[in-house]
Amino acid sequence: MNSFNPLPATLGGLLIGLASAVLWLGNGRIAGISGIFGHLLPPGRDWTWRVLFVLALVGGTALTALLVPGLGVGGPGGAPAVLVSAPQGSGVPGWLWISLAGLLTGVGTQLANGCTSGHGVCGIARLSMRSFVSVGIFFAVAILTVTLTGVVS
Protein backbone atom coordinates (compact mmCIF):
# COMPACT_ATOMS: atom_id res chain seq x y z
CA MET A 1 0.00 0.00 0.00
CA ASN A 2 1.39 3.39 -0.97
CA SER A 3 1.37 5.88 1.84
CA PHE A 4 -0.30 9.17 1.02
CA ASN A 5 1.76 12.24 1.87
CA PRO A 6 0.32 15.62 0.87
CA LEU A 7 3.69 17.40 1.19
CA PRO A 8 5.66 15.91 -1.75
CA ALA A 9 2.43 15.84 -3.79
CA THR A 10 1.87 19.58 -3.27
CA LEU A 11 5.55 20.48 -3.72
CA GLY A 12 5.73 18.42 -6.94
CA GLY A 13 2.55 20.08 -8.17
CA LEU A 14 4.00 23.54 -7.49
CA LEU A 15 7.10 22.59 -9.54
CA ILE A 16 4.93 21.40 -12.45
CA GLY A 17 2.97 24.66 -12.23
CA LEU A 18 6.23 26.63 -12.18
CA ALA A 19 7.47 24.71 -15.25
CA SER A 20 4.25 25.64 -17.08
CA ALA A 21 4.51 29.27 -15.90
CA VAL A 22 8.11 29.58 -17.14
CA LEU A 23 7.26 28.24 -20.62
CA TRP A 24 4.15 30.46 -20.90
CA LEU A 25 5.69 33.72 -19.66
CA GLY A 26 9.05 33.09 -21.34
CA ASN A 27 8.08 31.62 -24.71
CA GLY A 28 4.30 32.03 -24.80
CA ARG A 29 3.97 28.27 -25.17
CA ILE A 30 1.58 25.83 -23.48
CA ALA A 31 3.48 23.17 -21.51
CA GLY A 32 1.31 20.39 -22.89
CA ILE A 33 3.34 17.22 -23.13
CA SER A 34 1.16 15.53 -25.78
CA GLY A 35 1.36 18.68 -27.92
CA ILE A 36 5.13 19.00 -27.52
CA PHE A 37 5.54 15.27 -28.19
CA GLY A 38 3.12 15.27 -31.16
CA HIS A 39 4.84 18.19 -32.85
CA LEU A 40 8.06 16.17 -32.98
CA LEU A 41 6.37 14.03 -35.64
CA PRO A 42 6.71 15.15 -39.28
CA PRO A 43 6.10 17.76 -40.50
CA GLY A 44 7.72 19.02 -37.30
CA ARG A 45 8.17 22.75 -37.10
CA ASP A 46 10.05 24.51 -34.30
CA TRP A 47 11.26 21.16 -33.06
CA THR A 48 14.54 22.27 -31.42
CA TRP A 49 12.97 23.69 -28.25
CA ARG A 50 10.60 20.71 -28.08
CA VAL A 51 13.44 18.15 -28.25
CA LEU A 52 15.34 20.13 -25.63
CA PHE A 53 12.24 20.26 -23.38
CA VAL A 54 11.74 16.48 -23.58
CA LEU A 55 15.42 15.75 -22.91
CA ALA A 56 15.36 18.18 -19.95
CA LEU A 57 12.20 16.53 -18.61
CA VAL A 58 13.89 13.12 -18.58
CA GLY A 59 17.08 14.67 -17.16
CA GLY A 60 15.16 16.59 -14.50
CA THR A 61 13.50 13.37 -13.35
CA ALA A 62 16.82 11.48 -13.18
CA LEU A 63 18.64 14.37 -11.48
CA THR A 64 15.97 14.87 -8.79
CA ALA A 65 15.95 11.13 -8.11
CA LEU A 66 19.68 11.43 -7.33
CA LEU A 67 19.30 14.59 -5.22
CA VAL A 68 16.22 13.42 -3.28
CA PRO A 69 16.62 9.64 -3.21
CA GLY A 70 14.15 7.12 -1.90
CA LEU A 71 11.03 9.26 -2.17
CA GLY A 72 9.05 6.42 -3.69
CA VAL A 73 9.64 4.95 -7.12
CA GLY A 74 12.82 5.42 -9.11
CA GLY A 75 16.49 6.16 -8.62
CA PRO A 76 18.90 4.96 -5.94
CA GLY A 77 17.06 3.99 -2.75
CA GLY A 78 13.73 4.06 -4.50
CA ALA A 79 11.47 1.17 -5.41
CA PRO A 80 11.93 0.01 -9.00
CA ALA A 81 9.51 1.58 -11.48
CA VAL A 82 7.04 -1.02 -12.74
CA LEU A 83 4.27 -0.83 -15.32
CA VAL A 84 0.99 -2.54 -14.50
CA SER A 85 0.00 -5.82 -16.06
CA ALA A 86 -3.42 -6.67 -17.46
CA PRO A 87 -6.15 -7.43 -14.88
CA GLN A 88 -5.83 -10.86 -13.32
CA GLY A 89 -7.88 -13.53 -15.03
CA SER A 90 -8.35 -11.46 -18.19
CA GLY A 91 -5.94 -13.67 -20.10
CA VAL A 92 -4.54 -10.60 -21.86
CA PRO A 93 -0.72 -10.56 -22.03
CA GLY A 94 0.88 -7.59 -20.29
CA TRP A 95 2.67 -6.34 -23.42
CA LEU A 96 -0.63 -6.18 -25.32
CA TRP A 97 -2.36 -4.28 -22.48
CA ILE A 98 0.45 -1.70 -22.31
CA SER A 99 0.67 -1.34 -26.11
CA LEU A 100 -3.08 -0.79 -26.40
CA ALA A 101 -2.97 1.78 -23.59
CA GLY A 102 -0.16 3.64 -25.38
CA LEU A 103 -2.04 3.58 -28.69
CA LEU A 104 -5.28 4.92 -27.14
CA THR A 105 -3.36 7.61 -25.24
CA GLY A 106 -1.62 8.68 -28.45
CA VAL A 107 -4.73 8.87 -30.65
CA GLY A 108 -6.87 10.34 -27.88
CA THR A 109 -4.54 13.16 -26.87
CA GLN A 110 -3.97 14.24 -30.48
CA LEU A 111 -7.73 14.28 -31.24
CA ALA A 112 -8.44 16.16 -28.00
CA ASN A 113 -5.38 18.35 -28.60
CA GLY A 114 -4.17 17.95 -25.02
CA CYS A 115 -3.71 15.74 -22.00
CA THR A 116 -3.31 16.06 -18.23
CA SER A 117 -0.79 18.91 -18.62
CA GLY A 118 -2.12 20.87 -21.60
CA HIS A 119 -5.82 20.64 -20.70
CA GLY A 120 -5.53 19.62 -17.03
CA VAL A 121 -3.07 22.25 -15.81
CA CYS A 122 -2.70 24.96 -18.48
CA GLY A 123 -6.24 24.81 -19.90
CA ILE A 124 -8.00 24.90 -16.54
CA ALA A 125 -5.74 27.79 -15.45
CA ARG A 126 -6.68 29.62 -18.67
CA LEU A 127 -10.36 28.88 -17.91
CA SER A 128 -10.73 27.26 -21.34
CA MET A 129 -14.16 25.71 -21.86
CA ARG A 130 -12.64 23.00 -24.11
CA SER A 131 -10.27 22.03 -21.33
CA PHE A 132 -13.03 21.85 -18.70
CA VAL A 133 -14.96 19.48 -20.98
CA SER A 134 -11.89 17.38 -21.85
CA VAL A 135 -10.68 17.09 -18.23
CA GLY A 136 -14.17 16.16 -17.01
CA ILE A 137 -14.42 13.42 -19.63
CA PHE A 138 -10.96 11.87 -19.36
CA PHE A 139 -11.00 11.82 -15.55
CA ALA A 140 -14.47 10.23 -15.48
CA VAL A 141 -13.57 7.65 -18.15
CA ALA A 142 -10.23 6.83 -16.48
CA ILE A 143 -11.94 6.33 -13.10
CA LEU A 144 -14.55 4.12 -14.77
CA THR A 145 -11.86 2.14 -16.59
CA VAL A 146 -9.92 1.46 -13.38
CA THR A 147 -13.06 0.56 -11.47
CA LEU A 148 -14.50 -1.72 -14.16
CA THR A 149 -11.28 -3.51 -15.17
CA GLY A 150 -9.91 -3.87 -11.63
CA VAL A 151 -6.42 -3.21 -12.97
CA VAL A 152 -5.29 -2.22 -9.45
CA SER A 153 -5.26 -5.44 -7.48
Binding site: N2, P6, A9, G13, L14, L15, I16, G17, L18, A19, S20, G26, N27, G28, A31, I33, S34, D46, W49, R50, L52, F53, V54, L55, A56, L57, G60, T61, T64, A65, L71, G72, G74, L83, V84, I98, L100, A101, G102, L103, L104, T105, G106, V107, G108, T109, L111, A112, C115, T116, V121, I124, A125, R130, F138, A142, V146, T147, T149, V152
Partner: protein, 156 residues
Protein backbone atom coordinates in the same frame (compact mmCIF):
# COMPACT_ATOMS: atom_id res chain seq x y z
CA UNK B 1 2.72 30.35 -37.55
CA UNK B 2 6.44 29.76 -37.63
CA UNK B 3 8.62 31.88 -35.46
CA UNK B 4 12.38 31.87 -35.26
CA UNK B 5 13.69 30.11 -32.20
CA UNK B 6 16.09 32.30 -30.27
CA UNK B 7 18.77 30.99 -27.88
CA UNK B 8 16.70 32.44 -25.03
CA UNK B 9 13.75 30.26 -26.10
CA UNK B 10 15.96 27.18 -25.79
CA UNK B 11 17.13 28.21 -22.31
CA UNK B 12 13.50 28.69 -21.24
CA UNK B 13 12.54 25.26 -22.67
CA UNK B 14 15.49 23.67 -20.84
CA UNK B 15 14.56 25.23 -17.48
CA UNK B 16 10.87 24.39 -17.93
CA UNK B 17 11.63 20.77 -18.85
CA UNK B 18 13.95 20.34 -15.86
CA UNK B 19 11.31 21.75 -13.48
CA UNK B 20 8.61 19.58 -15.05
CA UNK B 21 10.70 16.42 -14.66
CA UNK B 22 11.58 17.34 -11.08
CA UNK B 23 7.91 17.92 -10.29
CA UNK B 24 6.89 14.54 -11.70
CA UNK B 25 9.48 12.75 -9.55
CA UNK B 26 8.86 14.73 -6.33
CA UNK B 27 5.08 14.29 -6.66
CA UNK B 28 5.63 10.60 -7.51
CA UNK B 29 3.26 10.92 -10.47
CA UNK B 30 6.08 9.09 -12.27
CA UNK B 31 4.73 5.96 -10.51
CA UNK B 32 1.86 4.52 -12.60
CA UNK B 33 0.50 2.59 -9.60
CA UNK B 34 0.22 5.77 -7.51
CA UNK B 35 -1.77 7.41 -10.31
CA UNK B 36 -4.04 4.34 -10.57
CA UNK B 37 -4.58 4.37 -6.80
CA UNK B 38 -6.05 7.86 -7.23
CA UNK B 39 -8.25 6.79 -10.14
CA UNK B 40 -9.45 3.76 -8.17
CA UNK B 41 -12.54 5.37 -6.61
CA UNK B 42 -13.80 1.88 -5.76
CA UNK B 43 -11.18 1.82 -3.00
CA UNK B 44 -12.58 4.90 -1.20
CA UNK B 45 -14.86 2.89 1.14
CA UNK B 46 -12.02 0.52 2.09
CA UNK B 47 -9.52 3.31 2.78
CA UNK B 48 -7.17 2.26 -0.01
CA UNK B 49 -7.64 5.44 -2.03
CA UNK B 50 -4.63 7.74 -2.62
CA UNK B 51 -5.67 11.40 -3.07
CA UNK B 52 -2.12 12.53 -4.11
CA UNK B 53 -2.99 13.35 -7.74
CA UNK B 54 -5.61 15.90 -6.62
CA UNK B 55 -2.99 17.76 -4.53
CA UNK B 56 -0.55 17.71 -7.46
CA UNK B 57 -2.95 19.06 -10.05
CA UNK B 58 -4.55 21.70 -7.79
CA UNK B 59 -1.09 23.02 -6.78
CA UNK B 60 0.03 23.11 -10.42
CA UNK B 61 -3.16 24.88 -11.55
CA UNK B 62 -2.80 27.47 -8.76
CA UNK B 63 0.68 28.49 -9.93
CA UNK B 64 -0.31 28.50 -13.60
CA UNK B 65 -3.49 30.46 -12.83
CA UNK B 66 -1.37 33.32 -11.43
CA UNK B 67 1.06 33.05 -14.38
CA UNK B 68 -1.77 33.32 -16.93
CA UNK B 69 -3.14 36.47 -15.20
CA UNK B 70 0.40 37.88 -15.12
CA UNK B 71 0.74 37.12 -18.84
CA UNK B 72 -2.56 38.89 -19.55
CA UNK B 73 -1.04 42.14 -18.25
CA UNK B 74 1.70 41.96 -20.89
CA UNK B 75 1.46 42.35 -24.65
CA UNK B 76 4.04 39.64 -25.33
CA UNK B 77 5.95 36.90 -23.52
CA UNK B 78 9.50 37.76 -22.45
CA UNK B 79 11.28 36.10 -25.42
CA UNK B 80 8.59 35.73 -28.10
CA UNK B 81 6.46 38.00 -30.30
CA UNK B 82 3.13 36.68 -29.08
CA UNK B 83 1.42 34.19 -26.78
CA UNK B 84 0.55 30.98 -28.64
CA UNK B 85 -3.08 30.67 -27.60
CA UNK B 86 -4.70 27.42 -28.83
CA UNK B 87 -6.50 28.04 -32.13
CA UNK B 88 -9.51 25.84 -31.43
CA UNK B 89 -12.31 27.28 -29.32
CA UNK B 90 -15.31 25.05 -30.12
CA UNK B 91 -16.30 21.94 -28.25
CA UNK B 92 -16.30 19.49 -31.16
CA UNK B 93 -16.47 15.73 -31.75
CA UNK B 94 -12.66 15.17 -31.84
CA UNK B 95 -12.36 16.81 -28.40
CA UNK B 96 -15.01 14.53 -26.91
CA UNK B 97 -13.96 11.30 -28.67
CA UNK B 98 -10.28 11.99 -28.04
CA UNK B 99 -10.87 12.62 -24.34
CA UNK B 100 -12.79 9.33 -24.04
CA UNK B 101 -10.00 7.35 -25.78
CA UNK B 102 -7.32 9.03 -23.68
CA UNK B 103 -9.34 8.32 -20.53
CA UNK B 104 -9.43 4.61 -21.37
CA UNK B 105 -5.69 4.48 -22.10
CA UNK B 106 -4.86 6.42 -18.93
CA UNK B 107 -7.11 4.21 -16.81
CA UNK B 108 -5.57 1.04 -18.27
CA UNK B 109 -1.98 2.05 -17.58
CA UNK B 110 -1.85 4.95 -15.12
CA UNK B 111 0.50 6.63 -17.60
CA UNK B 112 -0.26 9.95 -19.30
CA UNK B 113 2.21 11.53 -21.76
CA UNK B 114 4.27 13.48 -19.16
CA UNK B 115 5.06 10.50 -16.91
CA UNK B 116 5.57 8.31 -20.02
CA UNK B 117 8.55 10.48 -20.96
CA UNK B 118 9.60 11.01 -17.34
CA UNK B 119 9.75 7.22 -16.85
CA UNK B 120 12.50 7.02 -19.49
CA UNK B 121 14.81 8.05 -16.61
CA UNK B 122 14.06 4.73 -14.86
CA UNK B 123 13.35 2.62 -17.97
CA UNK B 124 10.94 0.02 -16.55
CA UNK B 125 10.29 -3.15 -18.51
CA UNK B 126 7.78 -2.68 -21.41
CA UNK B 127 8.03 1.15 -21.30
CA UNK B 128 9.47 1.08 -24.81
CA UNK B 129 6.24 -0.57 -25.99
CA UNK B 130 4.07 2.13 -24.42
CA UNK B 131 6.19 4.90 -25.99
CA UNK B 132 6.33 3.15 -29.38
CA UNK B 133 2.54 2.87 -29.50
CA UNK B 134 2.13 6.38 -28.08
CA UNK B 135 4.11 7.49 -31.11
CA UNK B 136 2.06 5.35 -33.53
CA UNK B 137 -1.21 6.54 -31.96
CA UNK B 138 -0.09 10.17 -32.04
CA UNK B 139 0.83 9.90 -35.74
CA UNK B 140 -2.58 8.35 -36.42
CA UNK B 141 -4.38 11.04 -34.42
CA UNK B 142 -2.54 13.85 -36.19
CA UNK B 143 -3.35 12.26 -39.55
CA UNK B 144 -7.06 12.22 -38.67
CA UNK B 145 -6.92 15.83 -37.50
CA UNK B 146 -5.21 16.97 -40.69
CA UNK B 147 -8.05 15.68 -42.88
CA UNK B 148 -10.25 18.50 -44.17
CA UNK B 149 -13.48 18.70 -42.19
CA UNK B 150 -16.63 19.81 -44.05
CA UNK B 151 -14.55 21.20 -46.90
CA UNK B 152 -12.52 23.33 -44.52
CA UNK B 153 -8.91 22.52 -43.72
CA UNK B 154 -8.23 22.35 -40.00
CA UNK B 155 -4.91 23.92 -39.10
CA UNK B 156 -2.63 21.77 -37.00
Amino acid sequence: MTTTTRPSNLVVALISGLLFGAGLYISQMVDPLKVLRFLDFGAIPTGGWDPSLAFVIVAAIAVMFVAVRLGDTRATPLFEDHFHHPARKQIDAPLVVGSVLFGIGWGMSGICPGPALSLIAFWPSDLWLFILFLLVGSALGRLIMRRPVKGRAVAA
